[in-house]
Subunit: 481 residues, 2 copies
Amino acid sequence: MQPEEFRAAGHALIDWIADHRLAADQRPVLADVNPGEVRGSFPTTAPDSPVAFDELLQQLEQRVVPGLTEVQHPMHFGWFPANASLASVLGDITSSGLGNLGISWESSPALTEVEEVVCDWMRQLVGLTDAWKGTIHDTASTACVVALLVARERATALAQNQGGLQAVDAPLVVYTTSEAHSSVAKAALLAGYGWDNIQSVDIDPVTRAMVPESLAAAIEADVAAGRTPAAVVASVGTTGTTAFDPVDAIAEVIEASGRSIWLHVDAAMAGTAMLLPECRHLWQGAERSDSITWNPHKWMGTILDCSLFYVRNTGELESVMSTNPSYLQSTADGEVTQYRDWGIPLGRRFRALKLWFHLELDGIEAIRTRIRRDLDNTAWLAGEIEKVDDWTIVSPVPLQTICVRHMPDGLSGDELDEHTLRWVRNINESGAAYLTPARIDVPGLDGSWTVRISVGVENTERRHLEALWDLMRTTATSALS
Amino acid sequence: MQPEEFRAAGHALIDWIADHRLAADQRPVLADVNPGEVRGSFPTTAPDSPVAFDELLQQLEQRVVPGLTEVQHPMHFGWFPANASLASVLGDITSSGLGNLGISWESSPALTEVEEVVCDWMRQLVGLTDAWKGTIHDTASTACVVALLVARERATALAQNQGGLQAVDAPLVVYTTSEAHSSVAKAALLAGYGWDNIQSVDIDPVTRAMVPESLAAAIEADVAAGRTPAAVVASVGTTGTTAFDPVDAIAEVIEASGRSIWLHVDAAMAGTAMLLPECRHLWQGAERSDSITWNPHKWMGTILDCSLFYVRNTGELESVMSTNPSYLQSTADGEVTQYRDWGIPLGRRFRALKLWFHLELDGIEAIRTRIRRDLDNTAWLAGEIEKVDDWTIVSPVPLQTICVRHMPDGLSGDELDEHTLRWVRNINESGAAYLTPARIDVPGLDGSWTVRISVGVENTERRHLEALWDLMRTTATSALS
């Protein structure tokens, strides 16, 4: 395709995207398709001859759009707010349009240096000191793998340069809680620690946050048993209930242990809140950790994939992740950052542009105002729910996630769980809103399945929460009959 | 930013991108900036208030464009052809515009199922049987990590579910060659095998391909010494010289060993050639491997990041990479593909769109014609070089990469290497073309530094190769004086 054809098609596409966004709230939130339905609408072999762009847009509309769950819909309260601000979309489009290649500083100096710039801006915006250097990974899952790899190598004095983890005697242990994101256990397994060496530290039954005294006891017991504490992963805003592990107290425990245990702070969701000075007490002590990750592609709204990963000791990171083949060496080596040595992939897209565009076009104050709006709206909804007897909020609401059960008299145990799953499914299948069911066991509270309301889509206003609350009550009541 | 603002800005951006592409060959290939220069053009803190889109485009032009190395330039012969066809760019823009979220089938059924469709189309287009299922990773580096993780777990009967790699006694060994991409050793280190357990199998001094008899001997010796052969990584088109490890013979060696060693085929660069039936003899036996990766984001031209990863046994892959937290469970489980269980990150972009758009808008026949053009052009240039006495092609040219030295009488050893680095640097710094220097030691041939000419940028025609050959001769001669 030549640039002039691209120009014509591109204009049509921009209009299509703008129209699609304008109509986001006219579509069902959850895609109403059966497994295999989208796949079945495509031919089983690649097209022999090219189609015109207009025709492809029609195919997109007919085959793909019905299969899209609309996370930009103001009635999307599922998983997490996966905002894709249109300002950041413009940055992402620019990245695509430039078609640059990030495999070394030399292969695109701007790609590297704009990433340095925006990572440093973001560092300042969440109140971290200049001891931190950042990069952009695809997701917090990958960031956690990287953190646990560097932790592994710190604990084994770079065993990878000799016999590897398999040559290590004392088992290395990773500490986290049952509330940590599933990617934490996955990262520990991929890094080779093994399931038996993931220590699930006690949580406080109310806050669902790690109990630092239990961490101290676990570390002590492991050391006594000849095991090597290697890493602690602290969750700052857990996926289930946005619980906050007490980072400062955890750092204190690590310091008191006299061991250089790697402390990774997973603030994937709640990092956005740290844009607000009044929220920063929630990750007090983050500055004392070894690595921090948070995802502007969640609540803040820089389009996925954009997961920030900060470390204090870049040399330690590079000693684990670095490769330096001759064909990538250049005269700039030593003077520049080689981001290939900060993560797993060699090649990278120009992801910094979407953060830059987002900050320049929306502006940080508007972003902060929107986040405060979401916190206010969440507090309002939580207040309304608390007023009604047969509804229960099952855990504290420190941020923008409310975990709720409808607990009418006469329902308990499995019946209660079935009721919960029934009413939430009825809402989700209606397409009017989307909420995520999740298992959250609260001591002393009957039932296990809970409904998470994750507030924070860019276009979600108070009126959408009012509509949701109406819908929840109506649907839950109907589900009883 | 609201959709109507996006519409206006988007139209301006499309024009900017089209103009930028039209002028690609007017810019220097290699960015002419010093380390820190782009970074220094930005303020040290994030902007307080938003800017208008016009102003941001000006900043982009002033601060960023001078720092771009232009890999879409027809005189770019560096690293590999990192083509970003404008058809695929439109698909990538669509992905950005939709702002979808891939964390489960349910979070965007179309995102998952279009990926299934295009991976299957691509499988057919390179002639693999329907025994293979594919997914899209960011890069071949990540694909290799995944392959070596699954290999590790196969060799240890899923040790990750117990004590992990650190509980394993017999060292696991990975076999590859000195010519494999740097990401192979990196992947083995990250997966915990350790440097000592990466066996560098002998290569043929002429073809630079793995010698299967040496592989057989190495496996036998390791088994005798109590080590466990876990994986072989065969390079199909090495980075240095596009050497082809003999996959069929390697599969034969593995079969003869009676051990279920994981065979990973890294065809990152040369996979594109397999779109041509006449090239498929080069990876004869790939069908017998356990995993195959190749990057449409290289020569084929689907914009980065687009690395295909195929496995035959998806159950084995999922047993290593799967997580299934309650908040991601749905009624569709068991009937659908959950790509989160096929790789490291949980969340994914809608990358399938760029492959779909590329195939629909450019069409496979035009893509095949272009690849054949590149092979013809490469053969032409190699023929011209061979005619001239003081130029030497240092290794066979099976594909689109020519490794060359200018070896005038009287220069040898370090002086020859200095001469090589001097003339290639003079070309690169001129901005007129870009070639990659790399160390390639050929037995019996003086010198070590070589210049790689990687042919295959979308807009590179015969006349650009003619211009390059003139430039090489002139510059190399001038560099002598």
